[in-house]
């Protein structure tokens, strides 16, 4: 395997493939996180072989409507906080783990904050200073989007 390969596996093969890579010497967990692709959510984990510095990025694709994946904390205890964070921020549900406490949020009624469909109320409530169209020279033809406000937000 060359330096920093990317391997995509089905969700059912996630733990098995990671276990194999760990067995081959990739024993150091760099990170585990998710990417919101709107229709799907990708979960990615990066493993590194401390001796050779070879690295592998393992990716699996989950349906956005039901992002469920097996936990790898039994194999790599260091994945614990990463899985808690990924669950909290992207709504991924990891099976086979007991601790489901959120890491950073404390108000339990918010949608996963890092999903592209989750609006940030603070950006919607605040008045964007760039909305003033009266200023001379401000192009009225180009509808400017406030930085930080995504077109994928459900509500406006």
């Amino acid at each position: 395997m060359s330096r920093s390969d990317t391997v995509t596996v089905a969700p059912g093969e996630w733990a098995g493939r990671i276990s194999g890579l760990v067995g081959e010497g990739m024993t150091w967990l760099d990170f585990l996180t998710a990417i919101d692709r709107l229709d799907t959510i990708e979960v990615v984990v990066r493993l590194v072989d401390p001796a050779s510095h070879l690295a592998a990025l393992v990716v699996t694709v989950l349906p956005a409507g039901e992002p469920v994946l097996g936990s790898i904390t039994g194999l790599l205890p260091g994945a614990d906080w990463y899985e808690r964070e990924t669950a909290e921020m992207f709504g991924v549900r990891f099976t086979g783990r007991l601790d489901t406490r959120p890491l950073l949020t404390r108000s339990g009624d918010t949608r996963p904050p890092l999903l592209k469909s989750t609006p940030l109320p603070a950006r919607l409530d605040a008045d964007w200073p760039g909305a003033d169209a009266e200023a001379i020279g401000a192009s009225a033809r180009r509808r400017a989007r406030p930085p930080g406000v995504l077109e994928t937000w459900e509500s406006s």
């Binding site: 605040a126 964007w128 200073p129 760039g130 003033d132 009266e134 200023a135 001379i136 020279g137 401000a138 400017a144 406030p146 930085p147 930080g148």
Partner: protein, 126 residues
Amino acid sequence: MTAPANARGVIALIPSACTSCMLCVRECPTWCITLDSHTEQVTEEGARRPKSVSVLDAFSIDYGLCMYCGICVDVCPFEALEWHPDHDYAASSRAGLVQATDQLASWATRSSASTTSATGSNPSLS
């Protein structure tokens, strides 16, 4: 205690160079810049008809929100914003970190770092 001359200490405004195009306001990721202006009709001697000029009424940067990314400095087409190394402007209130036109303009003349892009008359130190 002096910082290097190119330190990102504070952003100075050159009011005479600002055309109120609002690019800096729109591109700021933290929404910390506000700008108010109006247009006036000016007829110059010998001109056939009046032209519109923008008049900057108010410009402010909320340094409590500013993340010092420099996007505003980079995006200004008229080099009306520039970095200066001064960093001694802490305040005892949130409002004290919101700097308006005069204070922003004064950084351009107060700093020991020389700048080459300033045009027009500089405001006197207050």
